[in-house]
Amino acid sequence: MAVPETTAISRQQITAASAVHRGPAQTAKQPARQPAQTAKQAARQPAQPTRPPAVEIARLRKAYGPLVAVDDVSLTVAEGEIFGILGPNGAGKTTTVECATGLRTPDAGTVRLLGLDPHADRDRVHEIVGVQLQAGALPAKLRVGEILTMYRSFYRDPADAGDLLEALGLAAAARRGDYYGSLSGGQKQRLSVALALIGRPRIAVLDEMTTGLDPRARRDAWALVEAIRDRGATIVLVTHFMEEAERLCDRVALIDRGRVAALDTPARLAAQARGGKTVRFVPSAPFDDRLLTELPEVARLDREGQQVVVTGTGELVNAVIMTLAAAGLTARGVQLDSSSLEDAFVRLTGQPVEGAIA
């Protein structure tokens, strides 16, 4: 499932468009982020042996009777990381995070959260880990503010309720004194996120955080997740929105049939799925193939009627457009096909993304 993107011809616009484009090829992550490690590297040598990783799951297994929900999951999440857990329905994502947060007892394997055992160190873990669960309603006849004030009182160093309500777009509902029962599905969802974050957790586990949110609310929730990460928290995000994983996550684990099918940055997972990306355009005048095939970014060039199809890697679009411009040529009807995380998902799990909307 490629992401076609038609852009205008001029170089500035191409650059702007590629900056907006959320395809993995651009790897639009700030360089300030910590270097992404592969699971293997992380397991072999933790970044700082004195500081345990935020989340360390080793050989986790959990079955419900004959149904094996989690077969063998191992992963390590570094402090300050936004870590995505993706997978088809029933792949074991939710069971994995439920075991990780101590809500369920695994049949085998170990879980450590900042070095703490979620069962043995229950009290300390609940102080530093905020969990937003997929299911879980609240009493209909409590007001938004009353619920948040109560949950706030559970923690030693909580966030400001007003700030959190503002950031999640619930301030108006709280001011009106809306009852939980009268909230929309999206508002309930956002309140659930607020309850997970009100304790200013060091680790926030968010299960399907943006499911049921409209695009704007989703973007607000993403901004909030980035804000709390920027103050040093670690975020584990269970999601089935590819766009969300590509936009937010430093690394992603694809879980399929209770196992980790792949674990890498969204960009690298996407790159693995297909050998690069493709640019299509119609040149303003004929040119020699070698003009482009000699570029290091370009792997091959095909002509389909008037259209030129260039396949390659790296900053392919920029390289092609700038080279053409230098030769006095312009490109019309530029289309960028880039393999996405979704391609990786489909290829690795052999099934389409659940409820894919994008």
Partner: protein, 268 residues
Amino acid sequence: MSALSLSRPLRPRGTASRATPKSAAFGQIVLNEARLTWRRPVVLVAGVGAPVVLLVIFGELPSFHKATAALGGFTAFDLYVPILTVFSLAMLALLGLPLPLASYRELGVLRRLSTTPVPPSWLLTAQGIIQLGIALASLAIIFTISVTAFGAPVPKSPAGLTLALAISAVGLFPIGLTVAAVAKTANAASVIGRLAFFPLMFFAGLWLPRALMPNLLQDISNYTPLGAAVQAIQDSILQGFPPAAPLLVLAGYALVFAFLAKRFFRWE
């Protein structure tokens, strides 16, 4: 983002203050439980409103104020004061307590709470406090109205009455907790609570005061929780310090059902 407290850096690990405002958290839980009880006043209507209305109706009936030999020389109204007292206690214990707990489990409130530093058992304790508070208010209303408005006798043994009421509550509340433990949903809790309430109230003498029951029914009634509670409360009002038998029966129910509730209660 303007959210200052969200971007405030986290405290370095291990420096969090040990002083937890646990009492503040518990106070917040009780406060919200009280709000919920007030905003959806099913329990207040059934557990306080209904017995008080019955008390006033019985008090207005002239025939209820004639002392009869068949009733041991007491009036029907005298006998209905303890029965309606037990009505109130039983309604609060069998429906008031299990309904919210089963509903919280069904909704996932208890599960959500178990991800916070606050144990879900606090919600149960808070509910117990609320129901006991309602029970105290209800008993105060029932005794005040019956004595001042309808001339019922002042309790002969206030100490005995206090003891009888306390042991009745201790005997009945674990039964409600057991209902909450075995009911999977709030609806199931409501059905089980009602199915238990009406036959038990029969043995308490709601339809036929114990004094008028045939011997066999009276013997059975002595061993039912509500029958024993009525016996203990009635004796402390009309005769003096209650005998040991009904108190021991209630204590026995307390032990058995406390064990069952603990054994079967699930937080999710």
